[in-house]
C-alpha cells in the first residue's frame, strides 16, 4: 500500500492545520442541517473538558502529514489504528480571528520530537470555532482519515528510521533534525 498523501487524505493541499476527531461522525455529513452540524463539531470535536488553547498540527508536506498522524497514534495501544481528522486552511483561521503565529507553536505531547515541532496550541472562543467549522463545512470539507492500511505503511517506514513513535525502544532516530 502506498504512503498517504496530504491532498488525498485532507481534501486540500497544504499548508493546513489538522485536528484529530474522536469519532468521524463528530464532523457530520453534507446532508446534515448546518447549524446542528456546526454545534456537534464544536461541542464534540473541540470542547468537553478541553478548553482553549486547542491542540492542532500544522502540516505542509506529505511527510509532515505522515509524521503527525503517527505522532497522534504514538501513545495508543495500536500505532496503526486509523486516524480521523479535520483540516483547516491558515487563511480560514485568520478569517475568524484565530492567531496561529510562532508564539502559538508549542511542542506536541507525542513520542516523535520531529512531529512535536508541528504542534500549535491555539486560543479560540466557541464563536470563533463555530465560524471556523462553518467555513470549512460550507467549503465542502469532509473529515479526512489515514486508514489502518495507510498507517501500517507509515509505521513500517518509520520503523526503518528507528522513529521513537514507531518503536518501543529506539536506539536513536535516524531522521535528520529529529
Amino acid at each position: 500500500m502506498a504512503l498517504p498523501v496530504l491532498e488525498k487524505v485532507l481534501g486540500i493541499a497544504g499548508p493546513a492545520f489538522i485536528r484529530r476527531l474522536p469519532k468521524r461522525s463528530d464532523w457530520g455529513g453534507p446532508g446534515d442541517a448546518i447549524d446542528q452540524r456546526v454545534a456537534n463539531a464544536v461541542t464534540e470535536g473541540f470542547f468537553k473538558r478541553d478548553t482553549s488553547p486547542f491542540s492542532l498540527w500544522r502540516v505542509t508536506t506529505d511527510e509532515e502529514l505522515r509524521r503527525a498522524a503517527l505522532a497522534l497514534n504514538s501513545t495508543t495501544q495500536s500505532r496503526s489504528q486509523k486516524v480521523e481528522m479535520v483540516a483547516f486552511r491558515p487563511e480560514e483561521l485568520q478569517q475568524v480571528g484565530i492567531v496561529a503565529a510562532a508564539e502559538q507553536q508549542k511542542p506536541g505531547n507525542s513520542l516523535c520530537p520531529w512531529a512535536n515541532r508541528l504542534h500549535y496550541d491555539l486560543e479560540a472562543t466557541r464563536q470563533q470555532l463555530e465560524a471556523l467549522c462553518r467555513l470549512a463545512m460550507e467549503a465542502g470539507r469532509s473529515a479526512g482519515r489515514c486508514t489502518e492500511g495507510d498507517m501500517n505503511t507509515v509505521l513500517d517506514s518509520a520503523k526503518k528510521e528507528q522513529c521513537h513513535a514507531a518503536l518501543d525502544h529506539s536506539p536513536g532516530c535516524l531522521v535528520e533534525h529529529c
Binding site: 468521524r24 461522525s25 457530520g28 455529513g29 446542528q36 473541540f46 473538558r49 495500536s78 492500511g149
Partner: protein, 182 residues
C-alpha cells in the same frame, strides 16, 4: 482503596506526558484485571474518559478495556439492560453521552475477541437505536470484530441504513478491511 488508586491512575493517564502513557496504561490494565468489583472500575474509567473525549479519552478507555478479556462484553450486556430503555427509534444526530460509552464498549469487546458471536448479537441489538452515535459505535465495532459475519452486517448497513453518513462509514470500513486483506 484499589478503586481510588485506579481512579487516580486514569486521571494521571489523561494528563500524562507521552513517554509515561504506556507504563500508566499497563498499570491501569493490571489493576482492572485484579479488581473485585470491576464494573465499578469500568464505570469510573468511562466517566473520566468520555468527559475528556476531545483529548484522546475514548482511545485511552478502549486501549485499557480491550485488554480485560471478557469484561467489556460483560459490562456492555449489563449496561444494555438499563440504557436500551432510553433508546429512541427516530434517527437523531444530536450528541448523547452514552453513545460514547457504547463506542468504547463495542470496540473494546470486539478487540478483546472474548466471545465474537455474543458480541455480534449485541451489535445487532444496538442497531435498533435511532441515534447516529450508537450506529456508528456498531459500525466501528464490526470493523474491529473482523469476522465474516461482522463483514456481512457491515455490508448490510452500507446498503440499507437510513442515514447516509452511517452508510458511508460502513462502506469505508468494508473497503479498508478488504484493502488490509490484499
Amino acid at each position: 482503596m484499589g478503586h481510588a488508586i485506579f481512579s487516580n491512575q486514569i486521571r494521571q493517564l489523561l494528563d500524562a506526558p507521552a513517554a509515561r502513557i504506556p507504563a500508566l496504561r499497563a498499570e491501569a490494565v493490571e489493576r482492572l484485571r485484579r479488581a473485585r468489583d470491576p464494573f465499578r472500575y469500568v464505570q469510573t474509567m468511562l466517566d473520566r474518559c468520555v468527559a475528556r473525549r476531545s483529548e484522546g479519552g475514548l482511545d485511552f478507555a478502549i486501549d485499557i478495556l480491550s485488554q480485560a478479556e471478557d469484561l467489556p462484553l460483560e459490562y456492555a450486556l449489563e449496561f444494555c439492560k438499563e440504557d436500551s430503555t432510553a433508546w429512541g427509534k427516530e434517527n437523531t444526530i444530536g450528541y448523547r453521552p452514552n453513545d460514547d460509552v457504547w463506542f468504547v464498549l463495542l470496540r473494546s469487546a470486539a478487540r478483546a475477541r472474548a466471545n465474537p458471536l455474543e458480541c455480534l448479537a449485541l451489535m445487532h441489538t444496538c442497531l435498533a437505536a435511532g441515534s447516529r452515535g450508537m450506529r456508528e459505535a456498531v459500525v466501528e465495532g464490526l470493523y474491529d470484530l473482523r469476522t465474516a459475519e461482522a463483514k456481512q452486517l457491515l455490508s448490510r448497513i452500507a446498503a440499507e441504513d437510513t442515514d447516509p453518513l452511517i452508510r458511508k462509514l460502513a462502506d469505508d470500513n468494508l473497503h479498508d478491511l478488504e484493502a488490509l486483506e490484499q
